[in-house]
């Protein structure tokens, strides 16, 4: 009797769809203890990029708004973090993180209000244009160090009554803080996906006209999604600023916006795990092509194989890595039938 119940429990647990995610989190948590410094740093960068990609997934995957200017909010938060951090003692990230995120959210609300007046292809172009505008603001003006960039004065720590709870100056602590934030952002987006708001966004992506006819004020929903996506990108921006203690205008360049879109399509549009997978795949590809060990002197032309890989991936795997199993099954099926 007990054995039967035990067997059922085992079957139910192994059927739990959260296993791959749980395993991934555990692997990431354990990694700093087994990996070399270079690789731990790489994984850290990728986790930050994963948060960035997840934020865009809300916009592109769920709401169907292809933004080619998302780097603007990443960069604005990073710069806000650098500009607002005081020169003296370690600032508490109890307020610095929200401040960075709030700045990004505000920028997203304003820019979104303009961009969302455009539809379809126009939308893609204007998001690109506005992002380029923010790039100019930070690159050409002396507002924040110009093209040289800006240093963060002191890295933040979470203090409460003078007692340091989480000191981000410690690389280990920073790694785990990033992991926690990644899991949090993922969980929040998953919850939003199940919510009424999330369903409304999915409806807008499927057929905006029908949603309007039913009574949804779609502009408001889109703007809310845009702002939320900007705010979440701000979390990634904050982490980026704190990680190296330095920000440069290149993080606002449109290549960043292109890269994050690429991550989404690599992993698979429409899924959260696709965004994270895509971020890891992109970083891996880039590291591969930049590796002098593999390509020697040609490694400095890494953008060539990357460009070709981009074209190949989008052409052959338009639904991304997450859809590979289904795609492969479809290839095999006719072979099986023929044989």
């Amino acid at each position: 009797m007990k054995f039967r119940r035990f067997a059922i429990l085992v079957r139910q647990t192994s059927a739990w769809r959260g296993w791959p995610l749980a395993v991934a989190v555990v692997v990431l948590a354990v990694f700093p203890h087994v990996g070399g410094d270079f690789y731990v740093d790489l994984v850290l960068t990728t986790m930050i990029l994963s948060i960035f990609a997840l934020s865009l997934e809300l916009l592109v995957g769920r709401t169907g708004l292809v933004s080619f200017g998302h780097a603007a909010f990443f960069g604005i938060a990073a710069y806000a973090t650098a500009l607002l951090s005081p020169s003296g003692a370690a600032p508490s990230h109890a307020w610095l993180l929200p401040a960075g995120v709030a700045t990004a959210a505000l920028a997203a609300a304003v820019i979104g209000a303009f961009c969302l007046r455009a539809r379809g292809v126009y939308f893609i172009m204007v998001t690109l244009a506005f992002a380029q505008m923010t790039y100019f603001v930070f690159h050409d003006t002396k507002l924040a160090g110009g093209s040289d960039g800006l240093y963060l004065n002191v890295k933040p720590a979470l203090t409460l009554d003078g007692i340091t709870i989480v000191d981000l100056r410690n690389p280990r602590t920073f790694y785990y803080a990033t992991l926690v934030l990644l899991v949090l952002v993922y969980a929040v987006l998953a919850a939003i996906g199940r919510s009424r708001f999330g369903h409304a966004l999915a409806g807008i992506r499927a057929n905006e006209q029908r949603m309007r006819a039913a009574g949804f004020s779609t502009y408001g929903y889109k703007l809310a999604a845009f702002t939320l996506a900007g705010a979440l990108a701000g979390i990634a921006g904050f982490l980026h600023a704190v990680k190296d203690g330095f920000v440069s205008p290149e993080i606002l360049a449109w290549h960043q916006s292109g890269a994050v879109l690429l991550m989404l399509i690599l992993g698979g549009i429409g899924t959260l795990r696709g965004a994270v997978l895509g971020a890891f795949a992109f970083v891996l590809m880039k590291e591969l092509f930049q590796s002098e060990a593999l390509f020697g002197a040609f490694a400095k032309h890494w953008q060539l194989p990357l460009g070709l890989a981009v074209i190949a991936c989008v052409a052959l795997m338009p639904n991304g890595i997450v859809a590979l199993p289904t795609q492969l099954r479809r290839f095999r099926a006719p072979l099986l039938n023929a044989g």
């Binding site: 919850a191 939003i192 199940r194 919510s195 009424r196 708001f197 999330g198 369903h199 409304a200 409806g203 499927a206 057929n207 006209q209 029908r210 949603m211 309007r212 006819a213 039913a214 009574g215 949804f216 004020s217 779609t218 408001g220 929903y221 809310a224």
Partner: protein, 260 residues
């Protein structure tokens, strides 16, 4: 007892550059009636419906919903106030089930605007409204089927169900019978007949047989202008209407005996 007028257009006009697509069209829709809007191709029927629903702005004139001037209101706002609309080309969500389609439509009416937390499947108001709409549209048996797998006629029924899910008082139906065979047409007409008591229905249609079977009143449009409004018998006998249709669909005009 005079019928309650739910939707009114007063001298409504819509201009596209040099073209006057709708020219001072006035009509009323009362509760409990099916009011058919017919006319030759390019007469401006679809444009008029688009202006009434709020998808495009009027160039002149007024629209009143239950006495309230909604001319400047956006489409979503009118929809929330009780103006439902179905489309000529089916606009259902093909990947979701029939039930999910209707529940999402009902959400517009029942949820708080930006509810980021509540699970979508737990809104009992929307669920109830969706089930009711599905029952009214005679789709209860198909409620769990994926919308894309329905037959054409069933898809058109779903289109109407989504309209009903928001609890409208006025229904603007754009060619709901398009592409339907005789059996499906009969079913749809029964549906429309059943909808009459609580709603005001404006029906744009080309199927003259169906129109004369179901309509309580008919408005005829030619080149953007309303040339006649009245009961089916009067319209049939109207000289202007006959001359406008002569050679167009004159042969389709049902004869006086035996129909309606």
């Amino acid at each position: 007892m005079p019928a309650e007028i739910l939707l009114e257009s007063i001298d409504l006009s819509r201009r596209f550059g040099g073209l006057l697509a709708v020219d001072r069209a006035s009509l009323t829709l009362a509760r409990g009636e099916v009011h058919a809007l017919i006319g030759t191709n390019g007469a401006g029927k679809s444009t008029l419906v688009n202006v009434l629903s709020g998808e495009i702005a009027a160039s002149g004139g007024k629209v009143r919903l239950s006495g309230c001037d909604v001319t400047r209101w956006t489409q979503p706002r009118r929809a929330r106030a009780g103006l439902g609309r179905s489309y000529q080309r089916t606009t259902i969500f093909a990947h979701a089930s029939v039930f999910e389609n209707c529940r999402l439509a009902a959400q517009a009416h029942f949820q708080r605007a930006y509810d980021l937390w509540s699970d979508a499947t737990r809104c009992s108001d929307a669920t109830r409204a969706a089930e009711q709409a599905i029952a009214q549209a005679n789709l209860s048996a198909q409620a769990r089927r994926v919308a894309g797998t329905l037959s054409h006629g069933q898809k058109r029924q779903l289109e109407i169900a989504m309209c009903l899910a928001t609890g409208p008082s006025v229904l603007l139906l754009d060619e709901p019978l398009a592409g339907m065979g005789p059996e499906e047409t009969d079913r749809m007409l029964l549906l429309l007949e059943a909808l009459k008591p609580g709603h005001a229905v404006l029906l744009v249609e080309h199927d003259m047989d169906a129109v004369f079977r179901i309509a309580d009143r008919i408005t005829v449009m030619v080149s953007g202008r309303v040339i006649a409004t009245g009961e089916p018998a009067a319209i049939r006998g109207n000289a202007d209407v006959q001359s406008a249709y002569l050679g167009e669909i004159g042969d389709d005009m049902p004869q006086a005996a035996g129909i309606g």
